[in-house]
Each structure stands twice: as structure tokens, then as C-alpha cells.
């Protein structure tokens, strides 16, 4: 896929759409399109987090592994969402497993490539980190609500 096509796809994606054109041009230089089949593993906890993914179509599930337990699903993500923040933080290892629940179309971003560009351009870096901070904020918020078990029965 040509770089300008990737640029256009990024521009229309919920995660990137409010970034300046210059940022999108830089980011698209680190991007490629990927497809993943239902059931395939996109990431394993502890493995190198060289990339992150934004979902164009399909559904992924974030899971936590624990010894002697079945994988614990945490959240599903879909169109407009992003999978992976560990590429931003040393030692750059995935914190969770990510599995495709459906055939999915993703944009794969090379984390090392984008980190380098963010280091060279702190304005870009600030905007990218703000994006990921918002993802983290939303995930933390969602996880806390799920942990509160708000739909549990209450004594009348």
C-alpha cells in the first residue's frame, strides 16, 4: 500500500483523526496494514512489544494469563480502538495477550520507529503520549467499573 493511502486511512481513523497533517505524515511512515484471522494471537504477555495496532475492522480480545488458571478475558476492542501501549515504556514487553476474536483488519505501527520520531520531535511525542494517556485513562476507568461488579444483586 502506498504511503499516501496509509496517510488517508490514518486520517479517517478515530484514534488519529484529530492529529495535525504533519503528524499523520510522519506516523504513516511507521505504519503498515495487516490482517489477522479469528483465533490468531497478536501478542503474548512478556514478548517484545515492537508494535502497536489500531483496529480498522474486526474484534480483538485482551486477556490476562495466570498460572493454573484459564486465560482471563479483560476487554474486547474493535473498530477505532488501539491495542498496545507497551511499545512506549521500557522494557517494551507486552503486558497482556491479545487474541483476534474475528477476522480483523489492523494498522500495525512500528513502535521503535515511532519512538525515534517522537524523541526527535517532542511536539509530536507529546501529542502521541496524550493519545495513549487517554487510552490508559479509559482502560483504567473501565477496569475499575468492571471490578466494582456494579450489576451484582443488592439486598432489598
Amino acid at each position: 500500500m502506498m504511503k499516501h493511502e496509509l496517510h488517508e486511512i490514518l486520517r479517517q481513523h478515530d484514534f488519529f483523526k484529530d492529529l495535525p497533517e504533519d503528524d499523520l505524515l510522519v506516523i504513516s511512515g511507521c505504519a503498515k496494514m495487516v490482517m489477522i484471522k479469528a483465533g490468531e494471537v497478536l501478542a503474548r504477555e512478556g514478548s517484545d512489544a515492537n508494535n502497536f495496532y489500531v483496529v480498522r475492522m474486526g474484534k480483538l480480545r485482551i486477556e490476562q494469563q495466570a498460572p493454573a488458571m484459564k486465560p482471563q478475558p479483560i476487554q474486547t476492542i474493535g473498530c477505532g480502538d488501539v491495542a498496545g501501549w507497551s511499545w512506549l515504556f521500557p522494557p517494551y514487553r507486552w503486558s497482556f495477550d491479545v487474541i483476534a476474536l474475528e477476522d480483523s483488519r489492523l494498522i500495525c505501527l512500528d513502535g521503535a520507529c515511532l519512538r525515534g520520531k517522537c524523541e526527535n520531535n517532542h511536539s509530536l511525542g507529546y501529542r502521541v503520549v496524550k493519545k495513549f494517556a487517554d487510552v490508559l485513562r479509559q482502560r483504567l476507568h473501565a477496569a475499575s467499573l468492571q471490578a466494582m461488579d456494579v450489576y451484582a444483586p443488592r439486598e432489598d
Partner: protein, 272 residues
């Protein structure tokens, strides 16, 4: 209304009890006369010796010969209700309360957001909205449940998915679950409705409603187009006893459905 005395119950007979989830049952009752109600209203169900409980009506307004309540077993009265068998009798007072605003939906998109047992009081609205699809804009139903096993009306929900946009998500699930997982607000998408005209109807735990309102407000949905069904300890159901007082309101009489504009200042206040 089947009685002119709001404090006197009529006798209803249990026709059917259907288990929805591990702790939730749907009770179908027959009353001596057709029981007319509006979506969002509730009844007081009375078991001699156990007491009364306020329970939302979950049935179809076009079927006044069957009175349907979906009940979660959480206390003495509800435990008594779910122990009933076909042919048993109980007392019914009602219907009570302000209904969902079915009179303002024509020509508008409608977004229904339910959490947990909160789908029960919304079911009559969904059925009524589904029946008047030609008169309204887009209909979207979003439902959050504790787990796949805790989803109410699971089979019926599949049918809703064929008829309009209906999405569900759960808080916890086993790895075999292929559906959505996460908070219900994640399913709110402006693709489904026009935020400047949509009517939103929400029922669920207050914390869920609070975050749903926050999401809707962020999309530009105005407070007076967001409607909530509040739950308080309703006893007399006639605005007399004061048990369900909520600020200046009695939930049994002024609610249970409020527009957010009315209750914004009270919403989320711990002491209210």
C-alpha cells in the same frame, strides 16, 4: 388502572414462572380485568405474611391480559415471589409512576441503555418502540450485563439484533465467550444516532447511569433528552409515606422516570 383505591390490591393468579438467570425470574400473572399500563411503570406485588415489593412491569402494553414482571431474588419478598407456582395468588397494586416519554419519540432517534436488571423496566419501551419503527428514527438498544449467564431475555435479544441495532457487553466471561466484554458506555456510538435530536432512556445501577450520561453529554446530547429510571425504597407507591423521597421528589409518584435536567443536582449525591 384496575382499581380506584391505590392502597387496595387486586388478586392476581400466577400463570407462568420462567427462569431468566440463576437469580432472576419472569412472572406472568393473570388479573380479573385487563391490566393497562405504560412502559416504565411499576406495580407493588404483595405476598401475605412477607410484605410488598415494588417491581417494574416488563410486559407488552398491547397485551393487557398478561401482566409480566421480571424479578431478581434479593430479599424476603422477592424470595417469596420467585417461590410462587402456577395457580398461586398474590396481591397487585398499580400501575404507578411516571412512564418513559413515549410521547416525544416520534421522528427522533431513540437510544436505550440498560444495565443488569435495568433491562426489565425498559423492555416494555423497547417493545413499544419496535412496534412503531415507522414513526421514529433509528432505534438502538445497548445492554450491559454482569456475565453472559446474567443476560436477561437472551433469546429475545437475538431477535432484536435482527430488527434494529442491539448490542450487548458483559463485565466478566469465560474464554469461550465471543461477544463484547467491557463497560456498557463503550458501546455508545454517535454512528447510531443524531446527538442533537436523540431521546435517550437509561436504566441500571446509578453509577452506570452516571457514566452513560457523561458519555452522552460529551457527544452533545442535552440533559432534557436524557431520561432515567431511578430506584428507591418504595413502600406506599402513592407519594404518602416518604420512604422513596429523592430531594424534592417522591420516586414512586414523580418518577421512577425523570429527565436528567430534573435530577442532575441530586444525581450521584451519596446522601440522597
Amino acid at each position: 388502572m384496575i382499581t380506584t383505591d391505590v392502597l387496595a390490591p387486586v388478586v392476581a393468579t400466577v400463570r407462568e414462572i420462567q427462569q431468566e438467570t440463576q437469580d432472576t425470574f419472569t412472572l406472568t400473572l393473570e388479573t380479573p380485568e385487563p391490566f393497562n399500563f405504560k412502559p416504565g411503570q411499576f406495580n407493588m406485588l404483595y405476598i401475605p405474611g412477607a410484605g410488598e415489593a415494588a417491581v417494574s412491569i416488563s410486559g407488552d402494553v398491547t397485551q393487557p391480559h398478561e401482566l409480566i414482571h421480571t424479578i431478581r431474588e434479593v430479599g424476603n419478598v422477592t424470595r417469596g415471589l420467585v417461590a410462587l407456582k402456577p395457580g398461586d395468588q398474590l396481591g397487585v397494586r398499580g400501575p404507578f409512576g411516571r412512564p418513559w416519554p413515549m410521547d416525544v419519540v416520534d421522528g427522533r432517534d431513540v437510544l436505550v441503555i440498560a444495565g443488569g436488571i435495568g433491562l426489565a423496566p425498559l423492555r416494555p419501551a423497547v417493545l413499544a418502540l419496535s412496534a412503531k419503527r415507522a414513526e421514529i428514527g433509528r432505534l438502538t438498544v445497548i445492554y450491559g450485563a454482569r456475565s453472559p449467564e446474567d443476560m436477561l431475555y437472551a433469546r429475545e435479544f437475538l431477535g432484536w439484533k435482527d430488527a434494529f441495532v442491539a448490542r450487548a457487553t458483559v463485565d466478566t466471561a469465560s474464554p469461550s465467550w465471543r461477544g463484547n466484554m467491557g463497560v456498557v458506555t463503550k458501546l455508545i456510538s454517535p454512528v447510531d444516532f443524531d446527538p442533537t435530536r436523540v431521546i435517550a432512556m437509561i436504566c441500571g445501577p446509578e453509577i452506570m447511569m452516571r457514566f452513560a450520561i457523561r458519555s452522552l453529554s460529551a457527544l452533545g446530547v442535552e440533559d432534557d433528552r436524557i431520561f432515567l429510571s431511578m430506584e428507591r425504597n418504595m413502600k406506599c407507591a402513592a407519594g404518602i409515606c416518604g420512604h422513596c423521597q429523592y430531594g424534592n421528589y417522591f420516586v414512586c409518584k414523580d418518577g421512577p422516570v425523570f429527565d436528567y435536567d430534573q435530577v442532575r443536582k441530586l444525581f450521584g449525591v451519596k446522601e440522597v
